[in-house]
Amino acid sequence: MATTTAPPRPRKGRGLQLLTRRDKTVLTLMVGLPALLVGAVVWVPVVLTVVLSFTSWNGIGLPAASDWVGTQNFVDITTNYPPFWIAIRNNALWLVVFFLIATPLGMLMAVLLDRELKGSWFYRSALYMPVVLSLALAGFIWQLIYSRDQGLLNRVLGLESADRIDWYGDPDINIWAVLVIASWRHVGYIMLLYLAGLKSVDPALKEAASVDGASEVRTFFSVVFPTMAPINVVVLVITVIESLRAFDLVWVINGGRNGLEVIGALILSNIAGEASLVGFGSALATILILVSLVFIVIYMVNILREEKR
């Protein structure tokens, strides 16, 4: 083949030879240590989780050979564990709402606030405030609004006793109520990220566009947005991550039950507590890892393709 007849590639070898022994040591340390660390705190637990997902280990003593159950946990999860599919639906819903509503809204806010409005610091901090609050606190604040009997929302809507809406308790509604809270935080987060990105866009580009007679909207989509590609990717990645790791909010509200099932909450409710179903919980975690892997692979393929270009 053509490549085999090509001249040997001396550059690489010579490059290595140019390094002193000290350089090599430093390089090994710089690459090796982080790699070891990542291996120890990320990949070892991941592999252990996957291994445990094939057992019925209950967290007591060391896993024994008799704990091995093969794929039983996965069969149970998909056929015999009703909360699972609800959780999958909820995580997907979370992703869709973030992707279609919360993230674009955050970007819009950033664009608007980038225009040096009077008092823009106020809007900025108001929008960013929810991000600073712990989710436990956010859950509580919204409880005051959503509470069926005493909450603000039912009062404002003027609903009386039997007509009152049980925002946190009704399994058909509560996921939407929670998504409002989650979006409330997510918008501020995205806004801040995007605002930082917008600051780095060369103003000359925008000026040039407006000189050419492009409208504001056109300028944004045709000039600003494409130059922001790296930030856009970060925003996208964060949106996906935030949707997949949804957990704390629903955990605070009702422990991730009754309409608020998400994979993260199911994992913890199975693993934590008195009689820990570590094997079963690990199987759920493995599924979450697999789902994450799909997104990671898509992301990596994109990155590599761009690098080639």
Binding site: D166, Y168, D170, N254, N270, G273, E274
Partner: protein, 449 residues
Amino acid sequence: MPTRPRSTDKLYLPSSGLRTPVARRSVLHGAMGAGAVGALAACGGDDAATDSASGGSAGAGATSLGSNKGDEVPRAAEDAMLAAFTEATGIEVEANVQDNETFQENINSYLQGTPQDTFTWFAGFRARFFDDQGFIGDITDVWDEIGDGFTDGFREASANGDKQILVPLYNYPWAMFYRKSLFEENGYEIPEDREAFVALCEQMQGDGLNPIALGDADGWPAMGTFDILNMRLNGYDFHIDLMAGDIDWDTAEVRRVFEEWATLLPFHQPDPVGRTWQDAAASLLQRESGMYLLGMFVGEQFPEGEDRDDLDFFNFPELDSSIGSGAIDAPIDGYMMTANPENEEAAKELLAFIGSAEAGDIYIATNPTNIAAHNDADTSAYSELQLKAAELIGNAENIAQFLDRDTRPDFASTVVIPTLQTFLQNPDDIDRVVSDLQAGKERLFTGEA
């Protein structure tokens, strides 16, 4: 994890009493610190501690306790009890006190690590489960000493087969709580059977009340309703076998429980799943609800004085005359010994002391939300409600521990709670409820003897 908030124990404390435990506690902390030092110095020889040890019992030394009594009142009560023990025997007790929920959630890793010699826990299946894992010490010989002080019910709830594993300290009943004044004003009668019960509910509805309060946001309160309906319709033995996984959940009997529940559900507060039990208790306090099926800790939500004195209860009426109303839920809290205590002799002495009438009296004096477990407990200081609770427990034919103590903990938390909540949302789909429960039972009870 949903665990019963036992901050409950703040109840029934006379206002002057509030100051005493605090003061006593700080004193005790001092004493405890000294105790720790004493324990270290114990090898050198007995110091001041032995002075107070009347009779100088054989096991002098030190032992330790892991406790979930982190809330103020139970903690003060336990401190007082331990101080009395140290005074009587000269044995110091080093207590590691954690808050209740943390202790329970970490019980697995706690028992696998280096636990204290003794620890607080609950009777029933929930105790046996950990004995089966080999974490629990055999205290049958302690029971030889203290056994006469307890009824057979307590003995059974504290045993795993022939092995005694727990020393009970107190319990509290689940019953229908109500306001005396509300019943008097409206001329309500305590119902004895299903007919009277339904009639009372309808009468209350007619009076613009919501008959039965219910708040199941935490998941466990509805277990109380299931327990009582199952025990009234199918009897105690069936209930316990069901809890143990010996009976299937998709049987006609269990279905009947949910059918009965579905017919009674319109008498309950609407939308219970979004409501906390505290909010449900508030509706009883505010005379919006007529009755409330809960443990005696409901009184915590009633301000001291007039309101609390107005609180009363009746035993849940019979639903089937062939079954009667002799079974109740009355969870027992107690103390256990770990499998490898450092000082087994001292640990057993401590447990023997906890199993005495005196220990119960001291505990209840500071924390009167409960009923002492011992037969010879001093009831002269009991409030009216306590006396009535003691009578209800004393006359009960069978005592269950509560669903999450009578069955596998994983089954209770990951299957029963979500399914009961689904049922409360959608009471018409009983097929789905029983099949979900059965599926969970098959998944979790496999491979067990």
